[in-house]
Symmetry: C2
Subunit: 346 residues, 2 copies
């Protein structure tokens, strides 16, 4: 299959769940949580942050996985589609809107009241893609917790990963338990009712990813969900919607090796094939490459799928790392300017 | 300059002015007028109509210029950005929204009350583009009449072209006279007040195109407005906003040769350089190619700019016509299905 026949969608959104103390490794304040998906989309679209007041790289070079997906887009030339499933704010990035509102904290009743609408809009979009192959990534701070919520509600419990070096699994489980209590659900009560699972314990991005996948599969498009736990949760939603078409998940070795998840057996159970890519960030000394090598970040913004496409296309390691360094340097430079940039925004 | 450093934006919107009997050669009913910009964006994004209930090609092969812009995108690989300046309806196409509402009939008072908001949002988007070169096209049925309105309000009267074989110039002038009367403006009263000109006698797409151009020029991006009369009107708005940077218009020979316009002298007066491309639809017999050869359509969706880029890249005539035929055939086939498609839309 040629890259001309490949489209890479990234579904972006927010959930107030990310604001729970200790949950999210991406943003630490509500403002950062709101800005991160938007900045990630700017990086995928433009290869830099063009308008977001926040640059998702820390001054020590701690990077966003969006850089890897952008590098794949630049080097391979496939089409991208950015999907807004409920971002907290708009930016100058072209998106298809499938949802208008952020997800609430899942400890509330009905944290995603528009789950069915988001799913249906995304399904319609997924049916529209003319290419033979679709990859789907996501960007939503706090998304692994809501993924755990959905998996638990569906009765498909697996471990759960995190973008934090120290994975606060116990905290995530407590939040999910509280979500199920608030929504009067026991584990597995939402089996075969995927929209109920999202509405009661998920986030709008999961509804969007599942809808895209179901829509694309219905027109014979090959679908790869690019990511870790969140994409397993989306795959579970697809299966619990009664769709039995072949489906793949592509993720990184950081996720697949993570002791707190058992992705492979979960994938088997869901009849989902799994591709694991080991990122090749070697060959050059650079602060961003070191951070990527250490598995920070582990996944996100479709990084595992981007790496799989780069592997297939036999892009050389040096071409890849050069492009990662170029974009990371641009982001680090923008970080220096970001305070001015916030003030200059009109 | 490489095509990597080129971005092609298409600004889409609607104006109720198009519904005036005899004005628009594109859509004939309010429904068609609303659907056409959306279908054009689908063609630019996907090379086919994926969701629009209307296919902008008639059963005799009368085609949309969107096909030419799509062909340039496919063959040359530049990035595109689709901009919603007030479309009547959403579709599964990624857009940056700069305006939320259609323009009203310009014979009403304040037909574009949000002109300043659209302009500012588009300017911000234009500042965001990292590429060295920006092309801007448009799709808005009835847009030549509102362009004449803006030019008249600015005191930059030139002739005006039309997508209809028989150009209803007299009708357009009567509509513009009525618009100026309703808005208590004499010819030239809005000189140096471009937003007043749009608000009183224009359409939201013109505000969007002018904003994009001013934003991009402010960051040193080279800007080419791709189109005929409407892009001259947008160029006039840029000049009346006090922006003196170099600016180009690229259009087709159909427009440049049109007796009812004097685009070249208007461009000189506005200090705008002008590129005219003669489309090469020869070498093959096909109903769509014949219609293009006869100058139907003359311009739209950035066709003149797309042709200029194809000329620069020295794409062969046969490669070009083969791609036009492929997409046109796909649209003709979709036309046969379009009644079913309307009924199947959920």
């Amino acid at each position: 299959m040629t890259l001309d026949e490949t489209r890479f969608a990234v579904v972006a959104g927010t959930t107030e769940t990310a604001a729970i103390d200790g949950i999210s490794g991406i943003g630490t304040t509500p403002e950062l949580i709101a800005h991160t998906p938007r900045a990630d989309l700017e990086i995928v679209e433009y290869g830099r942050v063009v308008d977001s007041p926040v640059v998702p790289i820390d001054p020590d070079g701690g990077p966003t996985p969006a850089v890897v997906t952008r590098v794949a887009h630049e080097l391979l030339g496939f089409e991208t589609t950015l999907v807004d499933a409920g971002m907290a704010e708009d930016g100058p990035v072209p998106t298809v809107t499938v949802g208008e509102t952020s997800g609430e904290d899942i400890r509330n009743v009905d944290p995603v009241p528009n789950a069915a609408d988001v799913y249906r809009s995304a399904r319609r979009l997924g049916r529209s893609f003319p290419e033979e192959r679709l990859f789907v990534g996501e960007t939503i701070p706090g998304g692994t917790t809501t993924a755990l919520g959905v998996l638990t509600a569906l009765g498909e419990d697996i471990g759960v990963s995190s973008s934090l070096p120290e994975n606060p699994v116990e905290l995530k489980r407590r939040v999910v338990d509280s979500a199920l209590d608030s929504n009067e659900l026991a584990e597995g009560d939402a089996a075969n009712a995927p929209l109920d699972a999202v509405q009661s314990a998920g986030d709008p991005v999961l509804a969007g990813v599942a809808g895209l996948a179901v829509g694309a599969l219905s027109t014979g498009t090959e679908v790869t969900l690019a990511g870790g736990t969140q994409m397993l949760a989306a795959a579970a939603l697809v299966r619990h919607a009664g769709v039995t078409s072949p489906l793949s998940v592509a993720t990184t070795s950081f996720i697949a090796d993570d002791e707190s998840t058992d992705l492979r057996s979960a994938a088997d159970r869901l009849d989902v094939s799994m591709t694991v890519s080991r990122p090749r960030f070697d060959g050059r000394n650079h602060v961003a490459l070191e951070r990527y090598r250490s598995g920070e970040p582990k996944e996100g913004v479709g990084m595992g799928g981007a790496l799989a496409l780069l592997d297939d296309a036999e892009v050389s390691a040096s071409q890849f790392t050069d492009a990662v360094v170029e974009i990371s340097d641009r982001l680090l430079e923008a970080t220096d300017l970001s305070i001015d940039r916030v003030q200059a925004t009109d």
